[in-house]
């Protein structure tokens, strides 16, 4: 699409004051396999056109597959009908920003033989190195995504990202006994030399192999939780990003709404939004409003520096637009994870948190999955039927160590974090 795309021109001709069109085209090749067999070779193409029309401060959107003229016409009609029914909102505007030249990241086409061969080798490698680990759903994939944006204000953007990814779900299985499920993966621009080394998988496969003799944590106590990168993303990062986002400011429910410039975490902790990081194939050069993304320090040395505010919220609340929300980095600390464990008197090492989604007050509770009981600086035994609970605001302030090792998942880069004050109880 060029600036002022045919779709946005059509929308304006049909009666809109302004319009924007976003096109996302995905081409994917995927090999699905399990511990024993190659299962499926899947190739998909999809193309979604999203149209937004604006009229008198009213906004309506409609999405369709493809760009067939009759479908575009129907989508414009649907979007205009939706806008006509909507109440006016002065924040409903199209963005004005500097267009950037189209950018291409990563490979332009899949190496299909590579996808199949690495999957086949992974089956052999697992049988050799981790015979007690069973995976059922493993996906080795290449995806090429082209995102285009154009508006009636003349703003046009385009980016193309080709990347490889591997994701698998697995568990230990031996003599009729199973460990807890675990799952992990990562994406990268370059093909993976070995799938067994992707992200944190080698470590997790090893832990699954050592987790057959699970038992509950001893009683109920308040202790440390050492959160590994795999657990950190779901347990801490996404709930925190949500309450630091503009929509939580709009709802008035963010516990941090008055905390900008104040310490909300341990000085050891920073949270950086890096949507265009060179190692993040899941990043974005521009957001859904066509505005270029840029780096933002959200929390620096424990101090809340800024909120994640998009174009709409900026207009709605009279704030400065700050960043696109994709791509987060928690910088490493100075200690090794082994040293952090060695310094722990009593607590758990957590690889997966299986819990209810924390509400905006950031209370959390859930099961410590794929976890180990830690006492007097040593991993003692794998845990079963053990729950943890606490509050993420308090946990952020109670961080006592961050590991120097990090895992790059392709959309986030995260260390291991240790914090105290968490209620731990085994059945």
């Amino acid at each position: 699409m060029a600036a002022a795309s045919p779709e946005s021109d059509l929308a304006c001709a049909a009666g809109a004051d302004a319009a924007q069109a976003a096109l996302a085209r995905n081409e994917m090749v995927e090999v699905e396999f399990d511990t024993r067999r190659l299962q499926l070779l899947r190739t998909t193409e999809d193309e979604t056109t999203s149209l937004a029309v604006f009229k008198g401060g009213r906004k309506g959107t409609a999405a369709i597959t493809g760009l067939a003229p009759e479908s575009v016409r129907a989508a414009i009609d649907a979007a205009l009908a939706a806008a006509a029914a909507a109440p006016p909102d002065p924040a409903n505007q199209i963005a004005e920003a500097a267009p950037a030249p189209p950018r291409v990241h990563g490979p332009v086409a899949a190496d299909r033989d590579h996808l199949v061969d690495r999957a086949h080798e992974h089956i052999a490698a697992m049988a050799r190195d981790f015979p007690a680990v069973v995976s059922r759903n493993a996906y080795h994939r290449f995806t090429r995504t082209r995102r285009s944006f154009a508006s009636s204000a003349g703003l046009a953007q385009q980016e193309t990202r080709g990347r490889y990814s591997f994701w698998t779900m697995f568990a230990g299985r031996r003599d009729g006994r199973s460990t807890s499920l675990n799952y992990s993966g990562a994406s990268a621009y370059k093909p993976f030399p070995q799938l067994i080394e992707v992200g944190s998988l080698h470590r997790l496969y090893g832990e699954a192999s050592r987790s057959f003799d699970m038992r509950p944590a001893p009683g109920k106590f308040v202790g440390d939780v050492i959160i590994t990168p795999d657990a950190l993303e779901g347990m801490l990062l996404w709930p925190l990003a949500r309450v630091l986002g503009g929509y939580s400011l709009m709802s008035g429910t963010s516990p941090y709404k008055e905390k900008r410039g104040q310490a909300i975490a341990s000085p050891l902790f920073s949270l950086l939004n890096r949507p265009t990081a060179a190692s993040f194939p899941e990043g974005q050069d521009f957001d859904g409003y066509g505005v270029p993304t840029h780096d933002l320090d959200v929390i620096r040395d424990g101090v809340l520096e800024d909120f994640l505010v998009d174009f709409y919220i900026a207009k709605k609340l009279g704030l400065k637009q700050t960043a696109g929300a994709t791509g987060f980095v928690i910088p490493p600390g100075a200690k090794s994870e082994a040293d952090i464990v060695a310094e722990t008197t009593r607590g758990i090492l957590l690889t997966r948190f299986s819990g209810g989604s924390p509400a905006d007050n950031l209370d959390f509770s859930g099961i410590a999955k794929n976890a180990f009981y830690v006492e007097d600086g040593k991993l003692r035994y794998p845990l079963a039927e053990t729950m943890i609970s606490g509050n993420l605001r308090e946990l952020l302030l109670a961080i006592r160590a961050i590991s120097k090792e990090t895992i790059d998942f392709g959309s986030t880069r995260l260390p291991t974090i240790a914090a105290g004050g968490v209620t731990i109880h085994g059945r």
Binding site: L40, R42, T43, T48, A78, S180, D363, E385, M387, T423
Partner: protein
């Protein structure tokens, strides 16, 4: 449409499925009276899956014409051939099943309503809440509609078409508690298009009053005492218990991955009061929030008793897992979008109602919790499940006590079901359940209230 699919799939040299698939959705999201999202989408395409040389090939395209269907069929077969040559497995054919045939169209028969009716509904509800529910920090109203249209023909002669719509409204309120914001939400609506649900959604005032009263109690509520407790799970929670605790554990792909349920068919795994089903159609009472009669491999959907009077009876299979387990396909192969291959998924999963009364269950608890509404959940091969609880209260000496804050409950499914002492006589289907296994997919979840023991998170 079916004639076209049937004609093209007949050209495939071996096993093949050919599907046309449309997901038609609409989403309105209002926060504090501001309509932030006002969107519709029609995402459609064709796909094919073939089986050759012991492996599958799948291809999808964002188009529905004959040329696209011919191409997906050709490319899917080429994919299967490429993988099959690399794998060099024996070419064992998939198990044949009865041909799934029939057309089910659940689109509304009522006059269609436009965008204005939907926006007006949200505005009226927001105004009602503003007038009757003071001291709220925030109100979110989300209207979500999804109609899934599928047409399928297979090389085995299946020929079927179905349109399954669902309309749900999420109402969430927040107020300030002593230690930060406290939220509570409830899901309304269910099977059918907006026109089928509009009347009920417009009459939500009493339910909103109850939701607000629950939120006020929750804002003054306490954290549960972390530990193992007697609990009464309201019927609103029974569905997610059936889905997370047992349903996933008995999906045959997870059985093959090492689920604890594997090899236990015929064992007593639950109280004799427990019968747990995964059902086709719209569930045993016609009340489920999804409709599925033939799965996406063309297999007619059979009702499966996973647990019958406490005894583990069956697993949920597609053709590939049935082949590995030497079982019968059950009609559980489902795909969410045109670009997804069918995998083993639940349909309408429920604990069958018993004969006990909710008040008797609560009265039988000396010290424990009555848990009323859930949020997200997760399963495990070990059958140790969890799900979030957003609304509940203490039970002290058989009487309801203080409200509790958000928590998570967990347990080992078979232990929890063995500890069941009461099964209620009133059935509830959850309004808007989605399952997230590789892809999202709408599922039906239901059941009655039960009394059991499990772990509860807290302080």
């Amino acid at each position: 449409m079916l004639d076209r699919l049937e004609r093209i799939v007949a050209t495939a040299p071996g096993y093949a499925e050919l599907r046309l698939h449309r997901n038609i959705s609409r989403r309105l999201f209002m926060r504090r009276g501001t309509l932030i999202e006002n969107a519709s989408a029609t995402l459609a395409g064709g796909s094919a899956r073939c089986h050759a040389l012991g492996t599958f090939g799948f291809t999808s395209l964002p188009a529905e014409d004959d040329a696209a269907l011919e191409r997906v069929l050709r490319d899917a077969r080429a994919n299967a051939d490429q993988l099959g040559r690399r794998a060099a497995y024996s070419d064992q054919p998939l198990p044949a099943t009865p041909r799934g045939e029939g057309v089910w169209d659940y689109r509304t028969k009522r006059p269609k309503l436009g965008a204005a009716a939907r926006v007006d509904l949200l505005k009226r509800l927001d105004a009602y809440i503003g007038a009757h529910c003071p001291n709220l920090l925030n109100v979110d109203l989300t209207l979500q509609e999804l109609a899934i249209e599928k047409a399928l023909a297979t090389s085995e002669g299946a020929r079927t078409q179905c349109v399954s719509p669902r309309t749900v409204l999420y109402v969430q309120m927040s107020m300030q508690g002593g230690d930060g914001p406290v939220q509570l939400y409830q899901v309304f609506g269910g099977f059918g298009e907006f026109e089928d649900q509009a009347e009920a959604l417009a009459a939500l005032a009493p339910a909103i009053d109850r939701l607000y009263a629950d939120l006020r109690r929750k804002a003054e509520g306490v954290h549960p005492d972390a530990g193992f407790h007697d609990v009464v799970l309201d019927s609103d929670l029974a569905g997610i218990l059936a889905h997370e605790a047992i349903g996933h554990t008995c999906e045959a792909d997870l059985v093959l991955a090492g689920s604890i349920a594997g090899g236990r068919i015929g064992e007593q795994v639950a109280s004799e009061k427990i019968t747990l089903m995964d059902q086709g159609g719209r569930g045993f009472d016609g009340g489920s929030t999804i409709a599925i009669h033939v799965d996406d491999e063309g297999t007619p959907c059979r009702d499966i008793a996973i647990i019958e009077k406490g005894v583990l009876r069956g697993f949920l299979n597609n053709k590939a897992t049935a082949q590995e387990l030497e079982a019968e396909p059950t009609g559980n192969a489902r795909a969410f979008t045109f670009a997804d291959e069918p995998i083993v998924r639940m349909r309408s999963t429920c604990i069958m109602p018993g004969t006990d009364k909710l008040q008797d269950m609560i009265g039988a608890v000396e010290r424990g919790y009555y848990l009323k509404r859930s949020s997200n959940g997760q399963a495990d091969l070990t059958s140790e499940f969890m799900f979030g609880v957003v609304c509940g209260c203490e039970i002290v000496n058989g009487k309801l006590g203080r409200a509790i804050r958000d928590t998570t409950i967990s347990g080992v499914a078979f232990d929890v079901l063995k500890a069941v002492t009461h099964v209620g006589d009133t059935m509830t289907w959850s309004g808007g359940g989605f399952c997230g296994k590789k892809t999202l997919i709408p599922v039906g979840m239901g059941g009655p209230a039960i009394k059991t023991k499990l772990n509860i998170g807290g302080r």
